[in-house]
């Protein structure tokens, strides 16, 4: 099935896999505890502290490994929420149409007329700061993008003759959504899944960096950038390490998503580029 995986996608799969392993086996892999003060403030990299220590003298590598767990877990949960919500509502809106579609679509337009981060900040200013709130806010705000994509893909498929043929046969809505539309909408949606995950990682990191995401002493990578940012001016690069990790994870997932997107064949089998 996956006959020719290009090199770039292989690299993406490998690196993403590494991060996943780190996240899953964090307690076994991390040399020190998450909140354990083990050395001096901002010690340089050494054989005892492979990545050095942070602003409170904690082992940076250990915090990076635990941070992978937090970052990936929350981003994954938020992606799952945004995807389930957005895809189901988007497909339904396309198939049901009428006022249901109008109502949802106009509401999504409204939500999207405020940049996501701004709206998240507004909402987070009153909501209690905990994990559930964070995941809900991230997931719901982002589901607008998934909704738009799912709806537009499904609307395109919904007007095709084979769906009309199924309707003329007397098929119910379930068959039309799950057997006719979904199989054809799957590959653009799967590619979008990767992009949404990247967005959630960046979104969570930005929130934590601004001090509104994960609260200390727990750590995600964005929060670790915030903790260590004051060192930069003194030439201490500790903050760059979590920032780089975010970038590498995002790039790896992007490489995978790009590959899936390129494999997506044009539905209409059109005359695109000979």
């Amino acid at each position: 099935m996956l006959r020719r995986i290009p090199l770039s996608a292989l690299i993406g799969l490998f690196v993403t896999g590494l991060f996943l392993v780190a996240a899953i086996f964090a307690p076994w892999l991390a040399p020190y505890g998450l909140t354990e003060t083990v050395g001096d403030v901002w010690e340089p990299m050494s054989s005892t502290y492979l990545l050095g220590t942070d602003n409170l003298g904690r082992d940076l590598l250990s915090r990076m490994i635990y941070g992978a767990r937090t970052t990936i877990f929350i981003a994954a949960m938020a992606t799952a929420l945004s995807f389930t919500l957005g895809a189901i509502l988007g497909l339904l809106a396309a198939v049901v149409g009428g006022w249901f579609d109008q109502l949802l679509s106009r509401f999504v337009d409204l939500l999207m007329s405020i940049p996501t981060l701004i709206f998240a900040l507004v909402v987070l200013s009153v909501l209690p700061g905990n994990l559930i709130t964070l995941i809900l806010v991230m997931g719901i705000l982002d589901s607008t993008r998934v909704y738009r994509l799912a709806r537009s893909v499904a609307v395109d498929i919904n007007v095709m003759d084979f769906v009309e043929a199924a309707r003329l046969r007397g098929e119910g809505r379930g068959w039309i959504v799950f057997r006719e539309i979904l199989p054809n909408a799957l590959s653009p949606l799967v590619a979008e899944l990767g992009l949404r995950f990247i967005f959630q990682v960046l979104f969570l990191s930005a929130l934590s960096f601004l001090g509104l995401g994960i609260q200390p002493p727990d750590a995600d990578w964005g929060g670790m950038v915030k903790e260590n940012k004051d060192g930069i001016i003194f030439g201490i690069p500790a903050a760059l390490i979590p920032a780089a990790a975010i970038s590498i994870l995002a790039i790896s997932v992007n490489l995978i998503a790009d590959w899936i997107l390129n494999r997506t064949t044009d539905l209409k089998g059109g005359r695109g580029g000979n």
Partner: protein, 547 residues
């Protein structure tokens, strides 16, 4: 006018392209192999062939151009003794702008929506400094006039979207003629037009060619059209020349078997049958408009079909013929009138129809490739109605699928294929099998052959006729093509602007005296004979003089 020396010599032309299939290595394919011909001044050569024959590719090669990834890999094209394929970029530009011009199939897409027509018409000539702007503008106006465009003085100041399709095609011809080139390549210039518009454009193009004495390559899949305009014809198949000769010889005494098949296409003889049986379907006084609009697309339409018979509904774009099909299937609720099937009144909307109503009335679409779910195998596509309507499963279902495949003349191995692995004709056959699987009593065929090459279309029509004999199924055939109507209909309804203007048994409808529209429609269909166009135009002149 014509001199013996050829100004255009094509020698052993080879054209190829690299294709990039998903999940396979890129590889090279050949589109044109070893094509050679000469063309003298003032002569018109028709390039004939089905899709994939390489005719457009050859036409574009005379402008040293390859569409997409197409590359000219070998051979020479001499224009006045100079090989344009080995010429530098600058001289290629001069050739394109002033010596060889191109008229595309869809002028609506080929004109830039952002500029006025006149600026686009004279652009190439101005660029190549053929003459001054005022001279060129005057020349364009003269051309507009000779091509029969309305208001030739001012039509140039319009934008493309403000002009009709048939007019745009003529403006594009004027654009090609404006630099007074040696050669014009016409690439299916009338294919996208309605038949009554086609004849006017065809006449205009031929008039212009004769008046200016320009040479032309006329590319078309329609032999009858080319016969009206070309002095000689070249029949192509899979990128190779099948036969090349004088137009009269090709039409009247084709030498090659393939050419004979092309000439004899649509020679299906189907004696119309009549029956006194009670009508199977009665469409009574239907008036309908699309949701959100109050313009009636159908006005007081009444037709009926007897069991096992074929009613052809014929009309041009906008006549309402496809809307009629939608009303019958229940996809569009009419505002007035009833559809009666086997003496029971069908619900106006799809949701109100019983499963048996739906089963007995099946539909086949124009574009077979979008009428099948690309993610389902042929077995799933044909098998679904079997399990849905009859609850068949397992071995019984497999046997029935094999039977159905046999009835559409495909082997059992096709059951496991996906639509993308089938040819155009095979796809349409599978759609027919899907309709048959429901054991319907009426099948609505919506332009089922118009996306297919003539020979393939012929095969589909023959199959449909055989199946009708065997299964006693009735057809409602929606089409714009008079030849198809003549081939398969028992009765005919001619539609124009939402109304049935003529309706009756085939012989009645096709026998004069005609009403004005039917007369225009029938007299516009090109016949497979050289010189038909002259007669048709002469007939029209007399008529308009008579009015």
């Amino acid at each position: 006018m014509a001199t013996d020396a050829a100004f255009l010599e094509v020698r052993n032309l080879q054209i190829g392209a690299t294709v990039y299939p998903p999940d396979a290595k890129p590889h090279d394919i050949r589109i044109v192999e070893g094509v050679s011909f000469d063309l003298q001044k003032g002569r018109v050569l028709g390039l004939i062939g089905e899709s994939g024959a390489g005719k457009s590719t050859i036409g574009l090669a005379t402008l040293a151009y390859g569409r997409g990834g197409v590359q000219i890999t070998g051979g020479e094209i001499f224009l006045h003794g100079e090989d344009i394929l080995s010429a530098g970029k600058k001289s290629v530009r001069t050739t394109r702008g002033s010596k060889v011009c191109y008229v595309a199939q869809s002028a609506a897409a080929a004109f830039n929506p952002a500029h006025r027509l006149i600026d686009q018409v004279i652009e190439a000539s101005l660029e190549n400094k053929v003459a001054s702007k005022s001279v060129l503008t005057q020349r364009a106006i003269t051309l507009f006039e000779s091509l029969g465009l309305p208001d030739p003085q001012h039509i140039g100041s319009r934008y493309p979207h403000q002009v009709s399709g048939g007019q745009l095609q003529r403006v594009m011809t004027a654009m090609a003629l404006c630099s007074q080139p040696d050669l014009i390549v016409f690439d299916e210039p009338t294919t996208a037009l309605d038949v009554t518009t086609q004849i006017d454009v065809l006449a205009a193009i031929r008039h212009a060619i004769q008046k200016t004495g320009v040479a032309a390559l006329y590319i078309s899949h329609d032999l009858a059209v080319v016969a009206q305009i070309a002095d000689e014809m070249m029949v192509l198949r899979h990128g190779k020349v099948v036969e090349h000769g004088d137009s009269r010889q090709i039409i009247e005494s084709p030498r090659q078997e393939y050419t004979q098949a092309l000439v004899n296409v649509r020679a299906i003889d189907h004696p119309p049958s009549t029956t006194d049986a009670a009508p199977l379907l009665k469409v009574g006084n239907i008036t309908a408009s699309y949701p959100g609009s109050d313009v009636a697309v159908l006005r007081d339409v009444s037709v009926q079909i007897q069991p096992g018979q074929t009613l052809a509904v014929v009309g041009e774009s906008g006549s309402g013929k496809s809307t009629l099909a939608r009303v019958i299937t229940g996809l569009l609720s009419p505002s007035e009138g009833v559809v009666t099937f086997d003496d029971r009144v069908l619900s106006k909307s799809l949701g109100g129809r019983s499963r048996d109503d739906l089963r007995e009335l099946q539909m086949i679409y124009q574009m077979a490739d979008v009428a099948m779910n690309p993610r389902q195998t042929v077995a799933t596509i044909i098998g679904r109605p079997l399990s849905f309507y009859f609850g068949l499963r397992g071995k019984q279902k497999r046997q029935r699928i094999a039977q159905l495949l046999e009835s559409i003349e495909l082997g059992p191995e096709y059951a496991d294929r996906y639509p993308a692995e089938l040819s155009g004709g095979q796809k349409q056959r599978v759609c027919i099998a899907r309709a048959l699987a429901a054991k319907p009593r009426l099948i609505i065929c919506d332009e089922v052959t118009s996306a297919l090459d003539p020979l393939i279309a012929d095969g589909i029509l023959k199959l449909l006729l055989n199946l009708q004999q065997r299964e006693q199924v009735a057809y409602l055939f929606v089409t714009h093509d008079i030849a198809t109507v003549k081939a398969i209909a028992d009765s005919i309804a001619v539609m124009y602007q939402g109304q049935v203007v003529r309706y009756g048994a085939k012989a009645e409808v096709l026998t004069p005296p005609f009403d004005d529209y039917t007369d225009l429609l029938l007299s516009s269909v090109p016949e497979m004979e050289v010189g038909w166009l002259d007669g048709a135009i002469a007939g029209r002149r007399m008529e308009s003089a008579g009015h």
